[in-house]
Amino acid sequence: MSKYTEDDLREELKTKEYEYGFYTDIESETFPNGLNEDIVKAISKKKEEPEWMTEWRLEAFRIWKDMEEPEWANVNYEKPDFQGISYYSAPNSKPKYDSIDEVDPELLATFDKLGISLDEQKKLAGVAMDVVVDSVSVATTFKETLAEQGIIFMSISEAIKEHPELVKKYIGTVVPQKDNFYAALNSAVFSDGSFCYIPKGVRCPMELSTYFRINQAGTGQFERTLVIADEGSYVSYLEGCTAPSRDENQLHAAVVELIALDDSEIKYSTVQNWFPGNAEGKGGVFNFVTKRGLCETNAKISWTQVETGSAVTWKYPSCVLKGNNSVGEFYSIAVTNNYQQADTGTKMIHLGKNTKSTIISKGISAGKSQNSYRGLVQINSRAENARNFSQCDSLLMGNECGAHTFPYIEAKNQTAQIEHEATTSKIGEDQIFYCNQRGIDTEKAIALIVNGFSKEVLNKLPMEFAVEAQKLLEISLEGSVG
């Protein structure tokens, strides 16, 4: 068993459907639209949760009821009708299509470009699978390898039942229920998500990855993820999927909490490619995510994200550098095209001494899109010798898009060293002509320029993910110049 490597797993995943841990209940059922205490209770009951969890959700709901949807972000959209959404939906076990021929050819073309296998394509598009797949065995083998090291990786619903002491101890400690409107909503109604615990001194032997999916049209999706790295441990966690998720006007309000105890390290990488709406700006996913990590002494949290999808993105993966000598990093590429709007960035809260943070943000705007970086670097009074380096670069394509940078810096300790660099550039006709003259066509030239621009961040992604992300960038910007 100990010989089971990441490569073996990858090999297995190529041929088998991988659906790890989500939605243990496969009876399809959707709750009536709207949200009230009864619905919250019903969700909790449906998931057979213990009473403390039900109470926790209710508390969140009561807080949420009195909250207002935030309006400070640089995005414009029609606010979702929160009473017009169904808050619970078990996955529909019935396939959407009987054959791959029924699937939108444009979507399939994109899958091909991304190099996604036919089986995987069927799964992603919701086509009935003709191959019998044994997902249980993959999951089990995977789990056994991890279990040998004492690593827990399961859906949060399972964790609530199997490891209530861990969930109870940590849930809401980094992102409290009252943190913000969407976090409160998520706390009340979260559907499912992942739970991961790495015991003391363990280096997780493989990249933990999971494909997030929105299952049924018209159902809000509320993922909850909790990752705990115990003292001296290490884990690299991959979230998301390069394949486009084609669901229209869906609200997505996830919460991710990371807890890095003393001397531990968490690397959290995301590739987000939700449906961005069509070229006219119709449809598309609203993505309001709260992601935050807490670093204890000597701990390190590194967020890397490639954001290409969603009609509206509101997302600030942050680090609370509580322990002395802790380190926070944020590497981000956000691409907006057509009518997409993204307001994304990070918060680095320096509480401990000698804490260090690095922010590298790359925004690429094309079409009529708006791309904003919003970041806060906060040095608290007791954070002696805190250091931050921020770099925010924007790349514009065409004349109708916008790039905005909102860096906030609050330093309450004189020993702080904060550096901020920002650049804005435009892909020029001269650059394109130069490439053309060397035999590189315009499409390829843009890909080359964009990849060069994003390199510092792409390099931070795990190798395989980086290659996919690179392809995704090319696809997201196709046809945006010339």
Binding site: G428, E429, D430, Q431, F433, Y434, C435, N436, Q437, R438, G439, I440, D441, T442, K444, L448, I449, N451, G452, F453, S454, K455, E456
Partner: protein
């Protein structure tokens, strides 16, 4: 190889080239000289296929094919290379990566597979040795923070890698000190053969001491007003451009 007949071209409504005739045969080196604003750079851009220039009359025939309708990259695939007066920066893209992409895109256009990495490395080593380029230079971002001399050497390195049939050197001498000029010119001379041709566009004659032309053409007000051998370049150096202008006006 290249035959330009009665070429009229300009930007928007402004006409810049007003009837150019030029024939370049394999193995030849042509110098095009002229005062500022005479249309030298426009001519190189039009041959290379820069979109903003409109050709209103005449034609450009390359290797027996009318290339006016071809996109810039298609002309490049056919073997036309332009060494830019102001090479652009592409941050994050290394010289090696850029050249590799250029070669493979050209191969793709010809229906060939990508060049195997081993061959590519060998070619890079060969050409960088030929041009005495430090290999560390090749991993730097394209033209970013390059000195004037480095930029021009990089252009010649790309030319060496792509092995074009026709190379147009647009003001390659501008911004170079004498040592850099000599290095660049030596590079070009090493790449010259009986099968390829070079058009040197320059304001000054000093580059022509190193890259010796077979023919010299003087461009003035969008037309070639005088053609001759390399002696013409010396004459221009001595007398300046005014006597030509006077001669034309008479």
């Amino acid at each position: 190889m290249l035959k330009i007949e009665n070429l009229h071209a300009g930007v928007e409504d402004k006409s810049i080239l007003k009837g150019i005739n030029l024939e370049v045969k394999p193995g030849e080196v042509h110098a095009i000289m002229g005062p500022n604003g005479s249309g030298k750079s426009t001519l190189s851009s039009v041959i290379a296929g820069k979109e903003e220039y409109e050709v209103s009359e005449g034609n450009i025939v390359f290797e027996g094919e009318d290339i006016e309708e071809l996109a810039a990259e298609e002309r490049a695939h056919k073997g036309i290379f332009l060494s830019f007066q102001y090479p652009v920066e592409i941050p994050g893209v290394s010289v090696t990566n850029f050249v590799k992409t250029a070669i493979n895109e050209t191969r793709k256009a010809k229906g060939l597979e990508d060049m195997p990495a081993k061959d590519m490395l060998k070619l890079i080593r060969e050409k960088s040795d030929l041009l005495e380029i430090d290999r560390k230079f090749l991993s730097r971002s394209l033209n970013e923070g390059f000195s004037g001399g480095e930029k021009k050497r990089n252009e010649i390195f790309q030319m060496a890698m792509l092995e074009p049939k026709l190379a147009i050197l647009d003001e390659t001498d501008s911004g170079l000190d004498i040592d850099a000029l000599r290095i660049v010119a030596n590079g070009v001379n090493k790449l010259k053969s009986k099968d390829n041709a070079v058009i040197v566009i320059t304001h000054y004659q000093r580059l022509l001491d190193y890259i010796v032309p077979d023919f010299v053409h003087v461009l003035h007000n969008g037309k070639i007003v005088k053609s001759g051998t390399k002696e013409l370049a010396h004459e221009l150096e001595e007398k300046g451009y005014d006597w030509i202008k006077d001669e034309v006006n008479v």
